[in-house]
Symmetry: C2
Subunit: 286 residues, 2 copies
């Protein structure tokens, strides 16, 4: 991969761009999760053609109005290189229409390999260049450094898995780390340090499930965004956000997938359900 | 993805196939890690063409003699769909030549998404169908269930990250889980249960770094293989294996990347270095 010559001015940090998008478009992230059952509901084949139709329809309906679109890499990778070609197209079309693209790929590795994942998703020369990437800290928060560096260089963002919405996550995320707190707290602390001095919103976020109930034992004020999956099909509602996130609720980026996608393939169904959700979230957290 | 009609007989489990390959070809896994510096050392461009030349040369040199080849997905994904097309070709050519392919992608997610990753790498209808996959348990061991199921259905294997070779890994992997042991022990216990009653070797392995020094506090006898990265460039040698793995050293699949790949692009350099390593490992663990 050759370095792009790029603009001489520093890129605008992801946190600044996200803050602006949330003000302008409202607090919502819509996941693009074309799983087989949804393709069937839309009357599409479970193949690369069906995938492309599904994903591009979603982009066409939402990329000019929703703050963040979040393609789930797994559902594209299922179709190998053909699926990844669709992911490339979806990513660039969504960005061109003004949405921020958060690639939900949950990558995590060390050294040169982590750097390669960062080059894949956070380097402007890549065909999969995205605004932000979800990453997994099982190999230690420090293993993510190459991605943090790339994000800083090119105005990208990261969302680090902290407290995921699934119950099995507890066994690792709430295990006691050497310092006495648990693994999730240690991740939140590192993100707080990463975002220090970057108001109004830093570029380094956490993934914190909206279905987890009271999280008051955690300091969720990390100075960056909190991606909150679990709204809709998984059982949480916008009205739950203040109870789960407390004072940090205004930094929450609620993420919904099936709740919106099931209203397709008609544009109006997708747009109306996204618009209703934005209003519900605004009403709940303001 | 449509179900392949497939053979009526049950597939041979990965553990059985791996055990046979290790007996016939010797205990070695060679990583295919085409990072930019290695492409340059081989005189290749840092583009999809260079990637293809590098990876297919490695397959041509080694797939008919080394037990396991381990492509590192990140170095292919760097080139987007074109890189993934190379990965498809490398995977199928390596399997056709008789090597087992362990896809090093460290995937980890929940529910339908984990199922989609399992369909990508462990379903025979996929263009990326591999013999085994590395997975990350940060979302809890139970989150990996869809991959465990797919592996059992189609004779595939998994290698779950337990104790990785990098020092930052400690903060998560050695955190204390609810039961009193640490996260890594809990992963090893779950794998032991998965492999119960599947001699000579189960299909569910762990990733345990060869650079970690004395691991006698862990019960590494999980009834499945232990993938041990860290041999060669990262500083461990075959002679270190008995000291690190104790009685479990005979279930170790040592993994080397740069140590072999640096001897290319000549076939003889790649083959001779792999053959020497097999002999060193045999001498050390028998």
């Amino acid at each position: 991969m050759t370095e792009s010559s790029g603009p001489a001015t520093a890129p605008v940090p992801f946190g600044v761009r996200l803050h602006r998008a949330l003000e302008e478009r409202g607090p919502l992230c819509v996941g693009i999760d074309p799983h087989p059952a949804l393709l069937a509901e839309w009357g599409l084949n479970d193949d690369a053609g069906g995938l492309e139709r599904f994903a591009r329809t979603t982009v066409e309906a939402l990329a000019d109005r929703v703050a963040v679109l979040k393609p789930q890499a797994a559902f594209f990778e299922r179709f190998g290189s053909r699926g990844v070609a669709v992911l490339e197209r979806v990513t660039s079309e969504a960005r061109a229409a003004g949405a921020l693209v958060l690639m939900d790929a949950k990558r995590g590795d060390i050294g040169h390999t982590m750097e390669a994942y960062a080059d894949t998703f956070l380097h402007p020369a890549s065909s999969l260049f995205s605004d932000a990437l979800t990453v997994s800290p099982y190999l230690g928060y420090g293993s993510l450094d190459p991605a943090v560096r790339r994000a800083r260089e090119h105005g990208g963002g990261l969302f680090v898995l902290a407290l995921t919405s699934n119950p099995e996550g507890r066994e690792v995320q709430r295990a006691r780390a050497a310092g006495g707190g648990d693994v999730a707290s240690a991740v939140l602390d590192r993100l707080r340090a990463e975002n220090a001095g970057e108001p109004p919103l830093g570029s380094f976020g956490a993934v914190v499930g909206a279905t987890l109930g009271d999280l008051s034992e955690y300091d969720l004020a990390i100075g960056g965004p909190l991606l909150a999956p679990g709204i809709g099909a998984q059982g949480a509602t916008p009205a739950d956000l203040p109870g789960v996130f407390g004072a940090a609720a205004r930094a929450v980026l609620p993420s919904v997938s099936r709740g919106v996608l099931r209203q397709g393939p008609e544009m109006s169904g997708l747009r109306d359900s996204a618009a209703r959700l934005v209003e519900s979230v605004r009403a709940a957290v303001n």
